[in-house]
Symmetry: C2
Subunit: 233 residues, 2 copies
DNA sequence: ATTCTACACGAACATACGTTCTGTGTCAAC
DNA sequence: GTTGACACAGAACGTATGTTCGTGTAGAAT
């Protein structure tokens, strides 16, 4: 009953390479004869022979009787290959809507604030977001200045926001106090009839707002991204 | 001489949709007869007729005499389709190598890359990394505890590291001082024969180390990610 | 009306391509 | 030795699939 598991011979590997190369370069899978030519195998039956083995090992999937009817499932290294659609749908592009600073400024995307390319956006893997968030319309803001260091948000950070008027306890939200024109990022808690705004930095004291109506929630922070690799264009 | 340019009839659109659907769902392009069936066209010649037109309009590319020898170039909307290779390479999966706390524990990505689940990892768009970084082997660490708040890194944050022994000025690095078993994240500056370690929080004072040899660089911080959307599995 | 063009159908044709069969050589186990 | 599993080659076969051709219709141009 002893089955050799990981045993990929040179021909197996070569064929997998050909498969991957061909698919990526040509756009559709190769025929058996083409595989043979690329891999240095003269007989179609031998190629077929190995394709069957690769299928049994779970590297490819074959549709019999169909020309070029095969698809890669795993890499030569055994890594799973995401199909095309997956990768397309696995990424979410979030528009860079503007900048925020001490006096917060959220520019709607239509403003021709052209410091960023029109297609300049933040690409985030869907897996890094909750399903709800990925489905909703998000926007990204670049933080300018040190005014949010008590929220653990640094100059240059990218905050990804979700527009909302309501906040639930424990969420980090962008809020503006009535009478102030300054927006800050704080953890939001509604308790005992008042609102507690908790800085992310645990060494700092919370702010208690007795009148909940004087707190205006502008959005919820979904993610903060700090890129350290200095590649400013 | 008037040529209708953008004129995509319903059949054109339908065929493009079929093409896209089939490719993404099945993994290779459809045959002409399959297109016909899906698009409600009974004759192969009609499908061929429209495929020729779509090629002339630049939506697809065809390889004559080859079964399923076609690939999508543009979307129904006219948007360019990224080839397979692009989508495959657009995302980088970074293994979650461990956790760091006050008593830092950094496990460099050893050869046993198979310890964590395949879905245990951080997916980052290649566009969010520099080319150099994306090519190098990165690993991610989850921060545990508040010991890095002076580096603007919070409990629960994900730091993406690049293994290196050398640091250049201005980079945020994980460093350990000789004689200490604690690792911290600081901005690194080598100047006038000494090393200056600058906390990210600008209100905090730098640390000057007179002997550069007592500073051990363990890695460079490439990115910090803070997920606020509470998605505990 | 006639002609031309775009669109459509279905059948016939040619071949690209997957499958199968026979045969050969090697190497271990018996 | 014999057997059997394995790797490989080449040819023959069947069919899936792209191509071509003859025909037809509807509408615009002549």
């Amino acid at each position: 009953m002893a089955r050799k598991k990981q045993g990929l011979s040179d021909r197996h590997k070569k064929i997998l390479e050909v498969l991957e190369d061909y698919q990526t370069n040509v756009g559709y899978p190769p025929s058996i004869r083409e595989i043979g030519k690329q891999a240095g195998i003269s007989s179609t039956s031998v190629v077929n022979y190995y394709l069957d083995q690769l299928e049994e090992k779970g590297f490819i999937e074959r549709d019999r009787k169909v020309s070029r009817g095969m698809r890669l499932l795993k890499d030569v290294t055994g890594q799973l290959i995401d199909a095309v659609e997956n990768t397309l749908e696995n990424m979410v592009r979030i528009p860079l809507a503007g900048r925020i600073g001490a006096g917060i400024v959220i520019q709607p995307p239509d403003t021709d604030f052209n410091l960023y390319d029109p297609d300049e956006g933040i690409e985030v893997a869907r897996s890094m977001l909750s399903e709800r968030d990925a489905a909703s319309s998000l926007y990204a803001l670049e933080v300018q200045g040190d005014s949010m260091i008590d929220a653990m948000v640094d100059d240059g950070d990218i905050v990804i926001m979700k527009h909302t008027q309501e906040a639930r306890n424990g969420e980090m939200v962008a809020i503006r106090l009535k009478g102030s024109d300054e927006t800050t990022l704080k953890y939001f808690y509604r308790e005992n009839g008042h609102v507690r705004l908790q800085p992310a930095n645990p060494t700092m004291q919370p702010i208690i707002i007795e009148d909940p109506n004087s707190v205006e929630v502008q959005g919820k922070v979904v993610m903060v991204i700090r890129q350290m690799d200095a590649t400013p264009i």
